[in-house]
C-alpha cells in the first residue's frame, strides 16, 4: 500500500487536500495505492533500464566535456482532465496566432507600434529583434512554427503561461519517449481508460515542414533538420525527430549556398537542393555572413537563400523577438489587438516597470514580488522578494530606478506538485508542463506535453541539467470511457 501525501500550500495534480483523487486521476491513484512502494520501485527500475538500453539521453557539460546521461524519468504519471486540456489547447492556439501576427507585423508594417500598443523604444531595445529580417514574408505569415510554452499551476489550481519559447524549444522527443516507457509500466491503465495518444506529433511536424516548402508540399520537397552537432545537449532529440519524420539530420558543414542563393547539401551523389530547414541552432549562429562571423555551426549564405525565398526556415530567423520577458507582459494586449478576443489562458500577472504606475506598485511591494530583468534568460538576475535580503532589495530598487524599462515583476507562483517516487516512496514534488504548439496554415497542440519535475524537496527548478526529472503526461478523457469488456 503506497501512501500519497500532499505538500502544504501547493495544489497537487493527482489528489485534493483531503487525499481524494481528482476525477481524471481516480484510476491511477487507486492503482498506485494498490501497488505499494515496493512494486512501484520495481517498475521504476524497469523503466530506467529501458531508457538506458534505448540510449535515451541528454548531454550535460562538465569540465568542458559533454557527458551523455540517461534521461531522468519518474514512473508516476501526471494526469490532466481532457476537458481542461481542450480549453488549454484553445488558449495556446489563440496565443500563437497572436504572437505570429505580432512577429510578422514587427518585421513588416509595424502597425502595432504605430497604433501605440507596443512601445517603439522597447522594440529598438530588444536583443532578439533582427533588422536583417525586415521585409521578409514567410508562408502563411508564420514565423514561430514550433513553440514550447511553459505552463504552471498556482495554489488555487489556475493554469498560467509562464513563458513562450519561440526560438529552438526542446523536449518533445522526451514527451514521446516517456509515453513509450509509461505504457510498459502501466499497460493495464492504458487499456482501461481513454488516455489521449501523443504519437501523432512527428507526423504533424513533418506535414507542417513540407507545407512551407517554397514550391508547395506537393513538390516532393527535401526537408532537413539542422543541428549544431553531437555535442549539443539536445542532440538526442534532433536525431530522434529526424528519424521519426524521415528527414536528413544535417550539420552546417553539410550545407552550402551557391551564387544563385540556392541551398544545397553534400551527398554521396554530389550537391542536392534543400527546400526546408528545421533549424535547431540559435539565430546568431545561423549564418556567419550576417550574424556572428566566426560561427562554424551555421551556413554562410543561409540568410541570402531565405530572403530570396528559395528555402524555408522553421522557426524563421528573428522569431525570438516575441519570446523575451518584456513581450510576454504584452501578450494579453496583443491578443486583444490582433484578434479582438479576450485571452483564454492567463498570463502570470506581470508588472511592467516601463509604465510609471506599475513601477510604483513594484517598488512598493519589492519584498513580495519576483523581479526579473527583461532580456536575460536561464534564470539570471531573478530576485525572489520573499527570500531576498534587505541589501538585495535595496540594490534591486536602485537597478529598477536606473533603468525601469529593463524590468518586470510578478507575484510568486507556488508551482503545483505531483506524487513522485523519491528514495523508495511517493513524495510531492513541484512540476511544470511544456506543451508544443505547431503553427502553419492550421495549428496543432500536443495532447499534454512534457511534464518536468523538481526532484529535490521544495525545489522549483525543473531543468534536467539541474537535477530535474520528467513524467509522462496523461490527458484522460472521462467522457470517452473504454468499456471494461474491451479488456478481453
Amino acid at each position: 500500500m503506497a501512501e500519497i501525501r500532499n505538500a502544504t500550500g501547493a495544489w497537487d495534480e493527482l489528489i485534493d487536500a483531503e487525499g481524494t483523487p481528482r476525477p481524471a486521476a481516480t484510476e491511477l491513484v487507486a492503482m498506485l495505492r494498490a501497488l505499494g512502494d515496493h512494486e512501484l520501485v520495481a517498475r521504476q527500475d524497469a523503466a530506467d533500464l529501458a531508457i538506458l538500453t534505448a540510449g535515451i539521453t541528454f548531454t550535460v557539460y562538465s569540465d568542458g566535456r559533454g557527458i551523455d546521461r540517461a534521461w531522468p524519468f519518474d514512473v508516476v504519471p501526471r494526469v490532466i482532465d481532457a476537458n481542461e486540456w481542450r480549453r488549454t489547447d484553445r488558449g495556446l492556439t489563440q496565443r500563437l496566432r497572436a504572437l505570429n501576427l505580432f512577429i510578422d507585423d514587427l518585421y513588416n508594417d509595424q502597425n502595432v507600434v504605430r497604433d501605440g500598443v507596443f512601445p517603439a523604444d522597447l522594440l529598438s531595445g530588444s536583443v532578439n529583434f533582427r533588422p536583417q529580417c525586415l521585409g521578409v514574408r514567410p508562408a502563411f505569415g508564420v514565423w514561430a512554427h514550433i513553440c514550447g510554452s511553459d505552463l504552471v499551476r498556482d495554489a488555487d489550481g489556475t493554469m498560467y503561461v509562464l513563458e513562450d519559447n519561440l526560438r529552438v524549444p526542446s523536449g518533445v522527443s522526451y514527451m514521446l519517449e516517456n509515453r513509450h516507457v509509461a505504457k510498459r509500466a502501466f499497460a493495464d491503465l492504458f487499456e482501461r481508460q481513454s488516455i489521449l495518444p501523443v504519437d501523432d506529433y512527428p507526423e504533424a511536424l513533418g506535414r507542417l515542414l513540407r507545407s512551407i516548402a517554397p514550391n508547395g508540399p506537393d513538390s516532393d520537397p527535401t526537408v532537413v533538420l539542422l543541428t549544431p552537432g553531437i555535442y549539443n545537449s539536445a542532440y538526442f532529440e534532433h536525431s530522434f525527430l529526424a528519424r521519426e519524420i524521415g528527414i536528413d539530420l544535417v550539420e552546417g558543414r553539410d550545407l552550402v549556398v551557391d551564387d544563385d542563393d540556392r541551398m544545397l547539401m553534400r551527398t554521396v551523389a554530389g550537391l542536392r537542393p534543400v527546400d526546408v530547414v528545421y533549424r535547431r541552432i540559435d539565430d546568431l549562429f545561423l549564418d556567419p555572413e550576417v550574424f556572428l562571423p566566426d560561427s562554424t555551426l551555421g551556413v554562410p549564405g543561409l540568410m541570402r537563400a531565405w530572403r530570396a525565398g528559395t528555402v524555408a526556415i522553421a522557426n524563421a530567423p528573428g522569431a525570438g523577438v516575441a519570446d523575451d520577458k518584456v513581450v510576454y507582459a504584452w501578450v494579453p494586449d496583443l491578443i486583444r489587438y490582433y484578434l479582438g478576443e479576450e485571452p483564454l489562458l492567463a498570463n502570470v500577472p506581470t508588472y511592467r516597470c516601463y509604465y510609471p504606475d506599475e513601477r510604483d506598485h513594484v517598488l512598493d511591494h519589492l519584498d513580495e514580488l519576483v523581479t526579473k530583468p527583461a532580456n536575460e534568460s536561464g534564470g539570471y538576475g531573478i530576485l525572489i522578494g520573499p527570500r531576498a535580503t534587505a541589501a538585495e532589495l535595496v540594490e534591486r530598487r536602485h537597478a529598477i530606478e536606473a533603468d525601469p524599462r529593463n524590468w518586470i515583476a510578478q507575484p510568486v507562483v507556488e508551482l503545483s506538485t505531483a506524487p513522485t517516487l523519491c528514495s523508495g516512496r511517493l513524495e510531492p514534488r513541484h512540476v511544470d508542463l511544456r506543451p508544443f504548439i505547431l503553427s502553419g496554415e492550421s495549428s496543432y497542440v500536443t495532447k499534454g506535453g512534457l511534464t518536468r519535475v523538481a526532484l529535490r524537496a521544495g525545489s522549483l527548478v525543473v531543468n534536467s541539467s539541474q537535477g530535474g526529472g520528467s513524467k509522462d503526461t496523461w490527458i484522460v478523457d472521462l467522457d470517452d470511457p473504454i468499456p471494461y469488456w474491451s479488456n478481453g
Binding site: 534505448a54 528519424r243 536528413d248 551557391d258 551527398t267 554521396v268 550537391l271
Partner: protein, 310 residues
C-alpha cells in the same frame, strides 16, 4: 540522397563493429589453441600482436609481451584504438551521429553492447571469464548484422555499411593468413600442423564450412584455397571483395572505387596456393595494399567533401 558525412560514419561504424568481432574471434581461438597444444610446442601470444598490427604501440606501453598484457591490450585497453573496447565505443559514436538512417533496433543493439563492454571489459582478460565475454561480443555483433539484413532497406546507407564491413573483413582475413599461415608455411614439418591449420580456419569462423566444402584432409594448400578463393564462404577474401563490388554497383559516382576493387579481385586470382612462407607473405602484402586502395578511393570519392559549388 545520403549525406556524405553520414556515409562516412556508417562506413566506419561497420568497420569498427567488424573489427571488434574479428578480434574477439581471433583472441578466443588463440586462447583455445594454446590451451590445446602441449606446452613444449612453441606457440606464443605474440602472433596476436602481429595480426592486429599494433606491436610498436604495445611496446611503448608494456615491458613484457605476456598473455595478460597482450590480452589487455587487445580487449580492454583505452590507449589502443583497435581494442575491442575502443572499437565498440567508436562504432557507437559513429552510429550516434547517423541514427536517423537505420532501424532503431540496430542502434539499440550497438548501445546495449557498448554498455556491456564498458561495464565488463575486465572480464575479457582473465582466462576464466574470457570466452564468455568474447562470445557475447561476437554474438551481439552478429545480432546487429542480422538485424540490418532483415530490417534495413537496401539503400545507399546499407551499401556503405556493407562495404565497410567487408573491407574490414578482407583486411582481417589477410592479416590472419599473413601471420598464422605464413609462420606455418615457413616451418619445416611443424608439430601438430593439422591442429594449427584448423585453428587458422577457426580464427575466421571457417572450420565447419571448410569441412563441408572441401571434404578432404586439412592442408596448407586446401586452407589457403578456401580462405582466399572460395566463392561461397562469407569470410573468404574472394567473397568479401565480391560484396564490396556489389555494394559499389549500387552507389553513384563509384567508377574510381570500382576500378580499385577490380584490381584487387584480379590480383587475388593470381595468388597461388602452393607457396612457401616468404612468397605467401609477399603476395598477401600486395593484396593488403590493393585492398587499402579501395578504402582510399571510397574516402576520396565520398567522404572528403571537396565537392565544388556549381
Amino acid at each position: 540522397m545520403l549525406l556524405s558525412r553520414v556515409a562516412e560514419n556508417l562506413y566506419w561504424a561497420a568497420r569498427y563493429l567488424e573489427r571488434a568481432e574479428d578480434t574477439a574471434r581471433i583472441v578466443r581461438e588463440h586462447t583455445n589453441l594454446i590451451v590445446d597444444l602441449p606446452t613444449r610446442v612453441a606457440v606464443t601470444w605474440e602472433p596476436l600482436l602481429a595480426i592486429i598490427g599494433s606491436r610498436h604501440a604495445f611496446d611503448s606501453r608494456f615491458t613484457t609481451a605476456d598473455e595478460r598484457s597482450i590480452i589487455r591490450w587487445l580487449v580492454a585497453e583505452r590507449d589502443n584504438a583497435g581494442s575491442i573496447l575502443c572499437s565498440i565505443e567508436s562504432a557507437r559514436e559513429n552510429l550516434r551521429s547517423s541514427r536517423e538512417v537505420m532501424p532503431s533496433d540496430v542502434w539499440q543493439g550497438v548501445n546495449d553492447l557498448y554498455l556491456f563492454v564498458a561495464a565488463h571489459h575486465g572480464d575479457g582478460i582473465a582466462r576464466s571469464s574470457r570466452s564468455r565475454f568474447l562470445e557475447r561480443v561476437i554474438g551481439d555483433v552478429l545480432a546487429v548484422n542480422g538485424t540490418l539484413t532483415s530490417t534495413m532497406s537496401r539503400d545507399e546507407a546499407f551499401e556503405f555499411l556493407r562495404i565497410g564491413r567487408n573491407l574490414e573483413r578482407a583486411d582481417m582475413a589477410t592479416r590472419v593468413l599473413d601471420v598464422r599461415a605464413g609462420s606455418l608455411m615457413a616451418a619445416v614439418a611443424p608439430e601438430y600442423e593439422d591442429v594449427q591449420w584448423l585453428s587458422v580456419l577457426r580464427s575466421l569462423s571457417g572450420q565447419q564450412m571448410f569441412r563441408r566444402t572441401v571434404r578432404g584432409p586439412v592442408s596448407g594448400e586446401s586452407v589457403l584455397q578456401f580462405l582466399l578463393h572460395d566463392r561461397d564462404f562469407p569470410r573468404s577474401v574472394r567473397f568479401t571483395l565480391e560484396q564490396v563490388r556489389r555494394g559499389l554497383r549500387a552507389l553513384p559516382r563509384a567508377a574510381h572505387a570500382a576500378e580499385t576493387c577490380e584490381r584487387a579481385v584480379e590480383l587475388l586470382e593470381q595468388v597461388p596456393v602452393t607457396l612457401t612462407g616468404t612468397d605467401l607473405h609477399h603476395w598477401v602484402d600486395e593484396l593488403q595494399l590493393t585492398i587499402a586502395t579501395v578504402h582510399g578511393a571510397m574516402a576520396e570519392t565520398y567522404f572528403v567533401s571537396h565537392t565544388p559549388v556549381r
